[in-house]
């Protein structure tokens, strides 16, 4: 071992020791202090009932399938819409000026309204027009609300990606005789989309959580199913179960997004 390697190994051992000790101290404090809180026994009984947890978990998992389904059919629509809005906002053709305005208004509007509010407004408002079945379905209008909000975000992410591609790339393509359209399609967009994959991964994690908001307008997905169990059993443990299920999906997805982001940073530095 070189002198430097020995020194670094020593430093590492020391850092690990300190980190381990401080983590242990915090855990011990929590374990000792939390149960001493006056309401701890009541909280444990109503939030952490092992028997209820085990009994309701499979049904919650089944209900979560609906969340995943709503998520799965929303994503392609969100990206198609987001891309269309991003391109509309970047157009310089005077004939398409109305599209540009529309894109700007769309983004401002749907990014500015809380998702839950949009779910209520669209999910209750539009079926209220007296549409015949199946056009009054909360699945349709709930999905529309999610697509409106998230496509506005995705449009902005894509637009920042498009603008991050250096003009020299565009110049090179134009000088080869490519049309504006082909330049966008073959040169700019493929690079821009790759560059914003990590940001969009974070968007997908947020979307997966926000699907639960559709419970407010009808669909019996996981949050609503947990609410039903809560009323039935007079116990909040099903909510904890639902949280665990969300974490099982969102934690790996977030980690993966971070991994992509780091990889991208390293590749560019």
């Amino acid at each position: 071992m070189t002198r430097r390697a020995a020194y670094e190994a020593r430093q590492r051992r020391r850092a690990n020791l300190i980190a381990g000790a401080s983590t242990l101290a915090v855990v011990v404090l929590i374990v000792l202090l939390v149960p001493r809180a006056p309401g701890w026994d009541a909280v444990r009984a109503s939030f952490f009932d092992a028997e209820i947890f085990v009994r309701t978990f499979p049904d919650l998992l089944r209900a979560f399938v609906l969340d995943v389904a709503i998520f799965a059919w929303s994503v392609p629509m969100i990206f198609a819409m987001g891309l269309a809005i991003a391109l509309a906002r970047g157009t310089h053709n005077p004939a398409l000026f109305p599209l540009r305005i529309f894109g700007a208004v769309y983004v401002d509007l749907f990014r500015g309204i809380p998702v839950v509010l949009l779910v209520y407004l669209v999910g209750f408002g539009i079926p209220g027009l007296g549409l015949p079945r199946p056009w009054n379905s909360p699945y349709i209008w709930g999905t529309v609300a999610l697509v409106l909000t998230y496509s506005a975000y995705v449009a902005e992410v894509l637009r920042s990606g498009i603008e991050s591609i250096h003009t020299s790339q565009r110049n090179a393509a134009i000088c080869l005789g490519l049309s504006e359209r082909d330049t966008m399609r073959y040169v700019i967009l493929p690079q821009a989309i790759r560059r914003v994959v990590p940001a969009n991964m974070n968007m997908l994690v947020a979307l997966q959580k926000d699907v639960a908001l559709l419970s407010f307008i009808g669909p019996v997905e996981i949050l609503r199913q947990a609410g039903i169990f809560k009323s039935l059993l007079a116990n909040f443990t099903p909510y904890v179960g639902a949280a665990v299920i969300f974490l099982m999906v969102t934690v790996p997805a977030t980690r993966y997004a971070d991994y992509l982001m780091n990889k991208d940073r390293n590749a560019r530095s």
Partner: protein, 245 residues
Amino acid sequence: MPDPRLSLRGVKKSFDDVSVLKGIDMDVAPGEMLCLIGASGSGKSTLLRCMNGLEPVDDGAVLLDGVDIAEPGFDLTPIRQRIGIVFQSFNLFPHMTTFENVCLAPRRVLSENRDSLHPRITALFERFGLAAHMHKYPDQLSGGQQQRVAVIRALAMKPQTMLFDEITSALDPELVGEVLDVLRQLRDEGITMVLATHEMGFARELADRVCFMDQGVIAEEGSPDQIFSAPQKIRTRQFLASILR
């Protein structure tokens, strides 16, 4: 002299308040190789970019085979197939292999299909010693190799005229030679070439004519021997003295 391939008449260009080109007149004959020399900021790059319409000129005319392509509103897309340009910073498309880089424009613009394109492009790669690198990505290649791919990419459009904007300036010194060799090869093919360059030895060896640019005008032009051995203007002498140290 035959009709010039490219003629510039009173070309002017400013960026904001800075006047970069102050009335350039120039003729380039078919098959001629013309070198633009001059200090950084003298307007060489801007002049090249005006020749293919990448920068719109403010005033004056750029005639390609007698047609004024600087006419405001003129559709440059078909013109760009006839004038290739290679940049200092290569500007390869990083998400495509070198082969895809070269094939993109012929496929989309000339509507050539993959089958007819493949042998033609492969031959180009072989000719410039890059056959082994055809399916690599640009970041897997050295600067010199990337720049040669950029030349191939421009050549694949079968241009009559090629513009080179200081294509060796971003390269490590030991890689400059391989790129200049490519230019030597092109020189023998009768492609009209205009180069902005700092490679004085190269300009002296191969150019038909050398233009010295200074502060937005062509201060002096002539054969390489004239410019390098017997420059007439003081500014030319000063520039050459500073370059050759």
